[in-house]
């Protein structure tokens, strides 16, 4: 019965609805964008009313919020954290510097294009994005989840070699467990 295509579709819709309204964001401030996260979460903007809530460890989180530029050293940890998260998981690129490097275009220590290394579901542009922009980014993610289009994790799994090659290109000393889920 559960394998039936139509019932699977209904289950998907219900599950996506639940996922949409319960977004647990990993508490990892990778860059200076972390400064606008407290206002987003606290009384004036109150992201919790949309179901957005912090999660302390990657095992419990749904969304990895890349708050700004990633240095090579942080990149390694971010990949590790991302791979520890459980499906379904989403990545939000936050700030101009995740899109094309922003003002760090000539820095030797920051990556410029996040989506070559991790599958990004939603980008929020601006430096700094205002809390309204962050909320709008979450709303955009919710829309994509409800439509079933936020499938970055699947994309990562399918094209793991390509992502790995890119990651290994900038991280010389690669000691990481295999990604097998």
């Amino acid at each position: 019965m559960m394998n039936d295509k139509n019932s699977q579709k209904i289950v998907d819709i219900i599950q996506n609805w639940a996922r949409k309204h319960s977004i647990w964001v990993l508490a990892y401030g990778t860059g200076c964008g972390a400064i606008e996260i407290p206002p987003t979460m606290t009384s004036r903007y109150d992201a919790e009313r949309l179901g957005v809530r912090g999660a302390a460890t990657p095992r419990q989180a749904d969304v990895l919020l890349i708050t700004g530029y990633l240095t090579v050293k942080t990149m390694k940890r971010v990949i590790r954290v991302y791979e520890q998260m459980q499906d379904p998981k989403y990545v939000i690129g936050f700030g101009s510097c995740t899109i094309n490097g922003g003002m760090y275009y000539d820095s030797y220590n920051t990556i410029k294009v996040l989506d070559k290394y991790l599958p990004v579901d939603v980008y929020i542009n601006g430096c700094m994005p205002r809390p309204e922009a962050v909320l709008s980014g979450f709303a955009q993610l919710q829309k994509r989840i409800a439509e079933g289009r936020a499938n970055g994790a699947q994309q990562y799994k399918d094209n793991l070699e390509w992502y790995r090659a890119n990651q290994k290109k900038i991280i010389p000393n690669w000691i990481m467990p295999d990604y097998n889920w």
Binding site: R19, S22, T42, R49, A56, R59
Partner: protein, 303 residues
């Protein structure tokens, strides 16, 4: 035969009611916290969505058998507690397995879950979990003393070791135990702070200290089981307090009013307090709460 079937059906109904009520209380506590904090807060049914989402997540991690059993132990402990506690008096839909001495049995069952969880958390190999578990056990040692003292006082005073016996005593005398043995009630309520693990006794999963303690490595379905067992356990504990000290309840509405009033005590206190360190928490439990427990015993013996 029909009686047994009815009992099983009743147990399922009890569990479902406990789950729904516990979850709603969790959601309401989030709402109340949010209102105190000047914000709108999530809808009161947010916990259901969270639980459903956690249940629908994939769980690909595997840390060994005990890690799987940890949440299961918690669930078993919660359900056993729930089964022993009389939910409503004289209602066929809420049967319970009460027997002479169930109060003593209950003390053991309530510690069984955290111990099983400790085994599970130990196997994940996460140091945060290990430290969280030690903290949890220390805190349990702390609040068990006033809690046991309060219960022993009741047992001595009313010469019974069963919950229904105590309820019968209250029905007979017409006064609630919280008025006839106030010291035991105060000690038990103070112990309740530790049981519910709201601030200032949220030292087990303190996020800014230990990520989230024993549940650090548990996401998805594990967390779903733990969340639901927590909700069931919340309901069971609150009902137990209502049974012991507030004369039980005849219908669901009375029960909800009484339990929610009790539930508000740790929630509202927790909103305005930081958390204790482990040794401070244990010291707190061994201070005034234990003193009130001793007073309760003195009252039971001499009056």
């Amino acid at each position: 035969m029909e009686v047994v079937l009815m009992d099983i059906l009743g147990a399922v109904v009890t569990f479902l009611v406990a789950f729904v009520v516990g979850m709603t209380y969790g959601g309401l506590s989030r709402k109340i916290t949010a209102r105190v904090q000047n914000r709108k807060g999530p809808p009161f049914y947010q916990n259901f969505i969270d639980a459903f989402k956690l249940g629908s997540k994939k769980s690909a991690i595997h840390h060994g058998v005990m890690h799987h059993f940890g949440p299961a132990f918690l669930m078993v402990s919660s359900v056993m507690t729930l089964m022993i506690v009389p939910v409503l008096t004289h209602n066929q839909w809420f049967p319970n397995l009460n027997f002479q001495g169930d109060l003593i049995f209950l003390l053991y069952v309530m510690t069984f879950g955290p111990l099983g969880m400790a085994l599970g958390a130990g196997q994940t190999g996460n140091p945060n979990s290990a430290i969280g578990v030690t903290r949890g056990l220390s805190q349990m040692v702390g609040f068990e003393i006033p809690w046991v003292l309060a219960l022993v006082a009741l047992m001595i005073q009313y010469h019974t070791t069963s919950i229904t016996g105590l309820m019968a005593a209250q029905a007979h005398s017409g006064t609630w135990l919280m008025f006839s043995s106030p010291f035991a009630f105060v000690a038990a309520v103070m112990a309740m702070f530790g049981m519910f693990r709201y601030s200032p006794f949220d030292i087990v999963g303190a996020p800014t200290e230990l990520a989230s303690g024993p549940i650090s490595e548990n996401g998805g379905k594990y967390l779903f089981v733990m969340m639901s067992s927590g909700s069931v356990f919340t309901f069971a504990k609150l009902t137990l307090y209502v049974d012991l000290f507030m004369g039980g309840a005849d219908n669901l509405l009375i029960l909800l009013i009484k339990t929610f009033a009790l539930y508000l005590i740790p929630v509202l206190y927790g909103v305005t307090t930081p958390r204790y360190r482990t040794e401070q928490a244990v010291r707190w439990f061994w201070g005034w709460p234990s003193f009130f427990g001793l007073l309760a015993i003195l009252q039971a013996v001499f009056f």
